[in-house]
Symmetry: D3
Subunit: 257 residues, 6 copies
């Protein structure tokens, strides 16, 4: 990817995007038969099956510490065939990789901002994010899709609307060859000097900010640019989520941003 | 499921089927972006993503024993949210369950009948079967879908048509409340006295037969009935596979039996 | 093994056997001091220690689902020094191999046909099959020996004769260089085109049939030949088991078929 | 901890600190006999042994991808007796916890900004951070101490000063009961609404920013306050590191900020 | 076990033994078909299959450090059904227990005194000790039996007599209810205040001494008594080993002490 | 290490010691903030953090067998950077090494002689021995330091002085190039023909004796010399322990032998 940045347009981003454009978003709700809520969340060529299931128990530490209410946790996985070069199935190494654990902890922590755990009652919600096609931004797409699946589950099948606080969404931003870019695909991500994931609530507050230099530490000024770009992108993602929620309440089936 | 068997029709099988009917079959080819071949194989409400990827190496034991040619292996997994009650992710126990290992060994062994390993060259083919919705018959649906993905990969992207021997397909048959049934769904399977999986080649030969009594040993006569019913079903599955292969060669996209 | 098959006799099978002869069978009962029942089961040069022990508990899933009665499970292992080339001890890889899991699931499933689990009471029976010498057919020899150890345990030390339903036995059959053979030894097994394990009850019904083509799918006609040969062999094994049971009731010590 | 925030001083922070004060810092260099560089890094009651060792090899993926130069990785661990309630030793669960993996990945990634991996030559540097007393901020104290141990190792025993780019340091900031605080101890951390770890280079650039809401998403304005406070604290840590480096070059032994 | 010690005879030891008598010893050589050497070693009701196999490789650390010659290692295991109450199979916990590791390290270390590793050539000898009946003293019986299997293997099938240095044997001694006893069975062992295992060479030197107080530290005087008793017992074991070696050289089959 | 032994002095032992001298001993008590008792135990260049913590529970087997009182167990670990060449962190192999398990079993078993478990009440004491610098004798230094930490914990913070029986201490002795030596450092240990660890009580009784020949079996006479030398050394260690106990009771801080 050689990019010639001239004010507005980078000619060769995927989907012919400018630096501040998202990839096409698409949500297919109730994608699976069994879980309380499920969504196939697509961001360009990245596709993640997000499913939320409820079990009638809480973790041992909650019982031990007598914490009232419920719990929410996340498990994330890449299908071996989701990546350019086939990834080894983690079960064959006997343990999740550090990357997997870092990502599922981030997703779980973020999603717990969406629910009032006390009002949930004594259940554990599992948010399963299984990536079937990976082209960059899988953790952000997982958060965005899982928030939607969670909302559909809690306000729908589980019938506990009062426990749902607020929707969240996430997007990646980065600095590639000196330019700030919104929603990096795999090619861009692999060349980025700075990579940042931002998770926000619909009311415009920050849930998580994770900015990482890949060998090129960055100045405060660039940080501000990245945060502004992320906010810009996330607002559009919220609109796409809203469209699904509106449609599902009135019986439709699928949306596209 | 109370079933009143009167000659031809069992009133309450899913999809209103008679004892000798398959569930609707549907194959969506090139379902994933990256692998050499991929198929979403659906049998009623059971859905499996079957993907075939190639890597440029062979297992250590082949090198040690100087076995010429390539290898083919299978990995099978249930998504946690694919089952009625959420299944625990196997990575959290550190090892695949006995059921998983038994199934993936069966699939791999069966698929190796489709290829001439020597003509394949020094590569390993991975057939990944990831179940996204489980409603009985997942191992048979995996074999049928993976054979198709394998054929599309070898005769397509991998360009080694000469190494492809023959297509295979599989179906389950069983005895439920005393009746022989074709293509059991989960409800039927959980009440079966005898459960049998049959894998055949397109030329009508047997690749695998696995018949198991669940506490009710069966006579030779019933075995013959089960085998006949399986052959009857498998012939229809071959027709559906053929339709996909025909269409892909002339550029279409999806078929339904 | 070059074999010249002329109607009746294959000159160079081990023990100078014809195609339809078993290897010598020998059972040594109460081979170990501690378990409720134990048998050293020998089929030619294959030797397996089969032991059945009872523990006063049932698996957690039975309690959770309130299933009444007891349980029976099997664990199978090869001693490292039981094979021609020493096998690695599985504990050093941290998990049982797929082969081990497949075999012990088969044995356990088969043996559960011998007992009325409800009448057993709230105990778990462990059938341990530890192969000390391996020369082919270890899973069949394990089933045959474990059925005997189980019968001696339940009708003997455990004093729950009413929970014993029926004896089972198993034998392997196969197609080697185009011929059907009964009770394959290791040399024959390693050259077989088709390998089939058949488990039957003393009353002549099928408990398990597992037929596998090793790269050479087989026709229905050959399947029928294999099944007939297996039935022929299993009848003789039942006679050998009967002799032990008869003798133990009247106080003898060892038998040979 | 009840805190009455009146402009400058919070009366009951540990060490009687105001909201913008660090805990006392203390570095004991060459704390261990064997590694190329080692430092006991203390921040208040938090104490971490940071050691940097070199081995003559690089990870397999570097060889496979022919990446020139060396590598740096980190391993982090809490001694069981380092925490208020004894922590279970991770070896007994067979795998590092998600928290451990997340932290050691953060430290390793941050430290790789300190070195020019290509100039390092074909070696792997291990930065071991073993916490012997934990009172909050262990990951930041580890980064600060390991950067120092790394500098002493590379510019000292390893004699590869040209591969050292720049020193880094880290500090935590957070929002507790509505107030922004610098360098949280365990008591403060366990009550924080927002927890942020900031890693910077001596030249004032950002290496990592990880901000997390613990159930209370935060506004952009608070983010700016937190970042300013972190920069303020990190500048003092750099001064303390500098004092050690200066002293070690002229032969002294220990410093205190 | 109530014991009335009156000078010479303790009435109720198993096999009606006095304090200084061994249990009956019995060795069955070439007990298994495949390994280079194998012995069923029986000491009273304790029975261990000891097998020695050779593989054409040495451990990686020997290659790395360029240590010339071969290696010898031991693996020890209890069959689940070898103990009074069935023992859990270690594979199900994923790792050998501490007891198992301690024992197999002891046996391996002891046996390495029997061979000149340099003269052995570049092979690894595996001494597998699998206990089929456990009634106390399994580690000593393993050492004694494995030394014999090793001698038969090296001086026999492996044809490297020049690499065999000297035979070893082991016995346990202990203090039970205040009395010193030779060759404790399980009942005695479980009540012992002091438990000691002694391994010696045929030339009368010590290879290992492991004495342990079980809550009752012992004086130097008792230690001397225990060592004398152990020497007394080991001399008899050497005689029994010698008888087997003599017989095998002249073609006999089995011996009993 | 070339050693010229002439009656009394070996010129080149570390710290210029004669054959019967200990390395300098130093104990720093209450080295950690949290555990009930902790000691940094130094023997020459070997340094071990010994910590004793109490938890309000007992192992499942004690409950199952209704054993009254409490329990004491030990966990031992080498910091990766404690050894000359960096050691791999055991968590990365998923299980403790055989060496680690053997050592922590020895330490735990020895320490249980110090306490009256019944008087302890229903708690489990964990003795954590974490080696930060290894120069030979780490298991003995761990025992000596942990006995002290245990005494300070039980007679101090835990307030159960009545459960403390007696102090223990340990030392290594060995035969190097034909000479008996007290308290071997790493250099000496790696060249030893015989290596023996001796654990004794303050009242002069033996708790454990573990003598191992490293390829050179030893005579009874040498054993007696080794035991005498060990007793001689241990008496001095008890004096050093006593000094700490005396000081801590009257409020001092640190001692040196």
């Amino acid at each position: 990817m050689m990019s010639f940045y001239e004010g507005v347009l980078i000619l060769n981003r995927s989907f012919n995007r400018s630096f501040d454009q998202l990839r096409p978003i698409r949500f297919t709700e109730q994608y699976l038969s069994h879980p309380a809520g499920s969504v196939l969340a697509e961001a360009g060529a990245t596709r993640v099956i997000c499913a939320v299931s409820a079990t009638e128990s809480v973790p041992p530490w909650m019982k031990a510490q007598k914490v009232p209410g419920g719990w929410l946790t996340c498990e994330y996985s890449l299908l071996p065939s989701s990546t350019g070069e086939r990834s080894k199935r983690e079960i064959n190494t006997g343990r999740p990789s550090g990357r997997t654990m870092e990502i599922q902890r981030l997703i779980g922590r973020s999603l717990r901002n969406c629910v009032d755990l006390e009002k949930l009652g004594e259940i554990t919600l599992y948010a399963d994010c299984d990536v079937i096609d990976a082209d960059g931004g899988t953790r952000c797409d997982s958060i965005t899709g899982a928030s939607l699946a969670l909302e559909l589950a809690i306000r729908g099948k589980l019938g506990r609307a009062e426990a749902f606080r607020e929707r969240i969404a996430a997007v990646s931003v980065g600095i590639v060859h000196g330019e700030v870019l919104l929603d990096l695909d795999y090619q861009e991500d692999s060349q980025a000097d700075v990579d940042m994931n931002v998770v926000m609530t619909q009311s415009g507050k920050f849930v998580e900010i994770q900015g990482t230099s890949e060998g090129a530490p960055f100045e405060r000024k660039r940080l501000d640019e990245l945060l502004a770009l992320a906010e810009h992108g996330i607002r559009q993602i919220f609109a796409a989520q809203q469209a699904v929620v509106d449609r599902v309440l009135s019986g439709g089936e699928e949306t596209q941003a």
